[in-house]
Subunit: 194 residues, 2 copies
DNA sequence: AATAAAACTTAATCAAGATTAAGTTTTATC
DNA sequence: GATAAAACTTAATCTTGATTAAGTTTTATT
């Protein structure tokens, strides 16, 4: 239960003094979550940013027919939240739960806002984080608009090789946007061509 | 050719002193663009952020079959760029052109980076801008994974009523992710039910 | 080890939306 | 105002991927 991974992730973009690091550490909360344990459910108002230090979380929505659509997997070193709910402080539409036994670090929105003023470098870090994340979602959207199911699957394998090995196939299906049945059929056709 | 709209957009989130405003204005470049004029094409390295003060721009990709997929429309008051290219300074994959006769304000990436340090409030503004934008793309992605073509069309009408009136149908089709033929068919079926 | 619960597979049928190919209407351009 | 170009429509046919419904294998739980 240490903040090393988080501090390293931050250090990749900005460098904090000892004192600044302490100010950050002072507001962190550490938590263990069991596999399948929920952190948020639809309707909850998100009050905190979540950093995954071990294991893997995911965020997803459930549509009117009861089907899950996965927005994000967050393995160790990644951030995850219901961004819209955290910004607007309105009830969210996403579920967040643990794919594996995990350890997470929480920062309250209110603490984060104080930190932005006390340590402007942290505001820079979160600007960079949001911009990178934005670029990633933009390209995933383009991919969803322009690629076939098999191409999206292949992209997933290339981009997240470590996830592919650990995730049940049905979760990959819910991420790339096909039914588990279709993904199974597609993979067992010995894909000769993309 | 004045920065009023841009200053107002910023003032919605942070308040700048006269001096800070001047520092910002000093690095702005104003430009008129004709309808259909390109600002970026695939392969260009993006060096600047674009703010639309009049008219409307769009960003899109062209897939291997030559079909356009529209990532964003940017009417007056909105920002637009090839985010990934601006961040990585690698050749981009998007095209940006003018949907209508437009006026834009440009800020060089290098100037913006200096401004973040000189005027930390601007870094805050762009953090907020990126976070809001991120939340919007996350929800568009969920919509694309979970809604039918007609539901996505109806969402578009509700969210962008002013765009619907001015855009050719085929551009709306390229945004929601259907062929122009299918959108036409869908709309002429007198949609009784969604 | 036994049992239940997930996860995966297979196959038949179905539907949303793509493709192809005209033809028609609207909008720009000279 | 004529003409070309772009946008829109319609319809037939085709394809990707969804749905339904078993059955099988793997993984958890007691």
């Amino acid at each position: 239960m240490q903040p090393d991974l988080l501090l390293n992730a931050i250090a990749k973009h900005i460098s904090l003094t000892q004192d600044e690091q302490q100010q950050l550490i002072a507001v962190l909360a550490f938590k263990k979550v069991k596999k399948k344990q929920f952190l948020y459910q639809e309707g909850d108002i998100s009050k905190q940013a979540i950093f995954v230090s071990k294991g893997c979380l995911r965020s997803y929505s459930i549509d009117k027919n009861g089907f899950e659509h996965i927005l994000q997997f967050a393995p160790a070193g990644w951030w995850i939240s219901d961004m819209r709910s955290i910004i607007t402080q309105q009830p969210g539409t996403l579920y967040i739960d643990a794919v594996d036994e995990s350890e997470i670090i929480l920062i309250q929105k209110t603490d984060l806002e104080k930190l932005y003023t006390a340590v402007p470098k942290l505001e820079r870090f979160f600007r960079i984080l949001a911009e990178n994340s934005l670029a990633t979602y933009q390209h995933r959207l383009i991919d969803n608009l322009s690629l076939s199911a098999l191409e999206r699957y292949n992209n997933f394998c290339v981009r997240y090789p470590s996830l592919i090995e650990n995730l049940p196939q049905k979760q990959v299906a819910a991420y790339i946007g096909v039914t588990p049945e279709f993904l199974s059929k597609m993979l067992n056709k010995i894909p000769a061509k993309k």
